[in-house]
Amino acid sequence: MTLYLGRRLLAVAGVLVAIAAVTFTVFYVLPSDPAAAACGKSCSTDRLEAIRAHMGLDRPLWRQFADFVTGIFTGRTMGSGQYALHCAFPCLGYSYENSEAVWDLLMDRLPVSASLALGAAVLWLALGLSAGVTAALRKDSLTDRALMVGAVAAASLPVYFTSMMLIYGLIRTAGLLPYPQYVPLGDDPLHWASNLLLPWLALAVLYAAMYARQSRSSMIETMAEPYIRTARAKGLPRRTVVVKHGLRAGMTPILTLFGMDLGGLLAGAVITESIFGLPGIGRLFYGALSTGDQPVILGVTLLAAAFIVVANLAVDLLYAVVDPRVRY
């Protein structure tokens, strides 16, 4: 188990370094000059060079990358002299744009994205799984048909469409909800929730639809398993058969999906955040793109990748808990 975990963690680190390298290269190879962007409208060549040197952009790519990677673990000092900045342990560099440590920026934005992702996840799991399981248990009934038609349709709606409809319906027309504006959970839980409700809904609709479809087929498959027949043959009440024997096995495949989806979303639902103007990581990223703020872009990419790999690892470990056949 420890061995396995060690191996997996090593693999996670490897994947992250690989992703960092690829991202780094892409941004280096493709033309974009953050120094020039920082330099501004009227920029002398002399000054441009100075800025470039200051940003370390004059150094060979591999050196920049090596500095970056070692910086993550050891921290590093950027610039020199009076304005030298020390960037401590998980050092992902400083934003070109506003000179804040990328790590701090990410951590500052993470609560927003996490609130969005987790809230939506709760919602979509609740909606999706209950719809899926209900449909599975009433397979081929009218309820099943209706739920599944709804699910296919909802899954086909792009998130921006749903979002705009929600905004139009619930804010503009009905005036039921405020325009989303992030309030930290710690400040005011009620406002936190009421402001996030719409983005949650928008995200949840799409995912709930996918999960409903998925959990339905998984549940149908499980309910056809011989061990369910065994449970029924033992005279267990239907509820026990469905919940204890059916759900647990039927929901395990959903776990993998959930890990991947949540991992992907934690680091920013770019579209949703941008539609609702939520200051999450996705928006940070989108903003960084338009200003060519490479350290931030790289930071977000890495964070997102880290969430995905870690979520996958977590799912794999959880599997061992859920399914005793899996042993590490």
Partner: protein
């Protein structure tokens, strides 16, 4: 005594004429379903629309890039004149606000771009994925290990984020090509996994052994025994990833890193129309509906194909 119940030991159902292969059976099964017929019709409609875009728009009398200043009110931020976003005999689906470009022409040309990107990306994904999956599954061992690691790595990429980043930094390139390539780059592991799994299971079928005993080499086995067996699930999977591809193109265009103006694509149109969603709802509704219908049709079709061609697999 280790009898595995052989389900098909009875002769073929009477409804199907003798000598019909699995493909014919699948086709007959598909033909029975209404959802399939409807989605096929929708898909065909949009494909025809895409293919005949120039013809259609010349019929309607407008090219997708042609401004019509008479159709918009410059003093209202270019809102289309007339009801329903300017729908008239002149402009069948109304016009784009600000520019007055003909929406019908743009929608059909947008279909061309959106479907071209989605289908080409799908083709890339499917070809690359099938090749990788079949290689990994059939040859196993080190080949499998390397390819599987590569799949894991690719799947660990925050693909949308990465795609946006790549699209936004690349400038002097053909956007459509780049977008197709970028979408394709992240899609192949999905197919590869499905194909690999299927190949693994087929490789242990006795008919593959039989072919080897019969003297067939790996190439012959791959093309004659494995590939046709993999084809069913791949077709079903392909149909199910097309909507994803369409949606990805739309998402990228929506985020402003998609096609280059004045080329229309559905995503680009929706992105632009979002700003007008309450002043000119038709502008928003028309491309959204097209996108929705296409995605829905492909999803339904894919569901049916999966039912028929690949009864045991779920989403991967």
């Amino acid at each position: 005594m280790t009898t595995t119940p052989t389900p098909a030991s009875s002769p073929a159902p009477a409804a199907v004429p003798a000598g019909s292969g699995p493909w014919q059976l699948a086709r007959a099964e598909l033909r029975r379903r209404t959802a399939v017929k409807v989605s096929l019709a929708v898909v065909a409609l949009f494909l025809l629309m895409a293919a005949g875009a120039p013809l259609l728009s010349s019929l309607a009398g407008w090219s997708p890039e042609e401004f019509d200043k008479t159709a918009v009110d410059p003093y209202l931020g270019g809102r289309p004149l007339g009801p329903l976003g300017g729908i008239s005999a002149d402009h069948w689906l109304g016009v784009e606000p600000v520019t007055g470009r003909d929406l019908f022409a743009r929608v059909v040309h947008g279909a061309q771009v959106s479907l071209l990107i989605a289908l080409t990306a799908t083709a890339i994904v499917v070809l690359a994925g099938t090749a990788a999956g079949i290689t990994a599954g059939y040859f196993g061992g080190r080949t499998d290990a390397v390819l599987s690691r590569l799949m894991d790595l690719t799947m660990s990429f925050p693909s949308l984020i990465f795609m946006i980043a790549m699209m936004s930094v690349a400038k002097d390139v053909n956007r459509i090509l780049l977008m197709t390539a970028v979408i394709g780059l992240f899609g192949w592991p999905g197919v590869a996994r499905v194909v690999r799994g299927q190949t693994l299971s087929l490789r242990h079928r006795e008919y593959v052994d039989a072919a080897r005993v019969g003297g067939s080499g790996p190439w012959r086995i791959l093309t004659r025994d494995i590939l046709p067996g993999v084809a069913g699930p791949v077709i079903a999977y392909t149909t199910l990833i097309v909507p994803g591809m369409i949606a990805t193109e739309a998402a990228l265009s929506y985020l402003g890193v998609g096609v280059r103006p004045p080329t229309p694509s559905w995503g680009q149109m929706i992105a632009e129309s979002v700003a007008f969603y309450d002043t000119d709802p038709m502008y928003f509704v028309i491309p959204s509906t097209c996108l929705f219908l296409t995605v829905l049709a492909f999803t339904l079709l894919g569901d049916a194909l999966r039912d028929v061609l690949d009864p045991r697999s779920g989403r991967t």
